[in-house]
Amino acid sequence: MNPSMDDSRPIFMQIAEKIEDDIIEGDLPEESQVPSTNQFAALYRINPATAAKGVNLLVDEGILYKKRGVGMFVKTGAREVLREKRKEQFYEQYVVSMIREAEKLGITTEQLTDMIRKGETAR
């Protein structure tokens, strides 16, 4: 129904990823307040309990913290932690699968690095 929510992956994970993306991209600076679960629920038309599960996942991971009676906030240092985490995922998600596909097509390592350089200059 909602184009930004994928019905084939747990929604609480997608909410956590959205918050992570906003922190990495600087839209949610450190020590700023995260939207409430009710705001997430209304905005994405998702169940508030599911949204809360996504937010709590990031609290457990030390990315967000709770100010009693106020709401959830981004911890200082969260951005760097997330960047490191995403770099590891980047290797798994992009590099490994790229190499696998390249092997299938008979692309050598040299050709692959040439392609990456070419892609960088074309940017």
Partner: protein, 296 residues
């Protein structure tokens, strides 16, 4: 959290046919439930029993801890919106809303009025002169503005276009976050409502097939497609819930998460791999059973 509904071994029989066959479940307060299943699965029969419009043949049924029959303490806290709702002859929309205001203790006049505007309803028009979509809109307004502790929507949007349905979902989520209550949504438009559900009950041929956290059903299955021999090789030792063969090609839906191992093995066998949505998963579950029954 307190329980709003307790159902144990609930059965409704018509002669030898069990429309509802020994169903047991409980509903917790202030959650949104999806009651899903194919047409004729028994969903409406279950809702009719919960709302005391139908007597169970056997089994136990407690709503707010009490028997619902002729029990006004219970019935005044339930709002049941169904597709086939009949209205008194000559009632106008405004008469229906005025009656609802008397029937439901939590009725919010202001909210009802704003919904009438949202859905662009002609308040002076007689109910019997309304289009199918307008009738559905009236039901939705009553369901929302009643703020009943147990609100049940049974296929509430016959004749409503996508814009009006989206309006319904928006208002439902906004109001629910402000005034939490227990809601049952029964529909076969699973894709449209799935994100709003906290918990899912799937009924098939009168039996309770699934009773699960909605988010737990996402990412629970995936599908592979490719050459039949390779697909067979892949699914050996895995739990396939659905299989299709098209000549030399085949596809299969398997239970399990789409982890790196799964991807690697599928890749080695040159299989295409895709995640399965909640709707697809439920369709597979309910058709699997029907097919199995046909083979008996």
């Amino acid at each position: 959290m307190s329980q709003v509904l307790q159902v144990r071994d609930l059965t409704k029989s018509y002669g030898k046919f069990n429309a509802v066959d020994r169903i047991s479940f409980t509903l917790e307060e202030n959650r949104i439930y999806g009651l899903l299943g194919r047409n004729g699965a028994g969903k409406t029969t279950v809702m009719n029993m919960i709302t005391a419009q139908l007597f169970p043949t056997s089994g136990e049924l407690k709503v707010f801890g009490e028997e619902p029959y002729e029990n006004n303490r219970v019935l005044s806290r339930i709002c049941f919106i169904k597709e086939s709702q009949k209205y008194p002859e000559n009632f106008r929309i405004e008469d229906v809303l005025a009656t609802a205001a008397i029937l439901y203790p939590n009725w919010d006049r202001g909210f009802a009025a704003s919904l009438v505007e949202d859905f662009k309803l002609p308040i002076k028009r007689k109910m019997k002169k309304l289009s199918r979509g307008m009738l559905s809109s009236v039901g939705i307004i009553i369901g929302l503005a009643s703020r009943a502790p147990l609100t049940i929507f049974d296929e509430p949007y016959l004749g409503l276009d996508a814009v009006a349905r989206t309006l319904f979902y928006d208002r439902l989520m906004q109001d629910y976050t402000e005034y939490p209550r227990t809601i049952i949504l029964s529909t076969h438009l699973i894709d449209e409502v799935s994100a709003m559900l906290e918990h899912v009950l799937v009924i098939d041929s009168g039996k309770l097939l699934l009773n699960e956290d909605a988010d737990a059903l996402r990412g629970r299955a995936y599908s592979v497609a490719g050459k039949t021999a390779k697909v067979e090789q892949f699914i050996a030792g895995r739990r396939a819930i659905h299989r299709d063969t098209f000549g030399a090609l085949a596809s299969a839906t398997l239970m399990g998460g789409l982890d790196a191992d799964v991807r690697r093995q599928a890749d080695l066998l040159n299989l295409e791999i895709a995640p399965v949505s909640m709707q697809q998963l439920i369709v597979h579950f309910t058709t699997e059973k029907t097919q199995a029954k046909g083979g008996e």
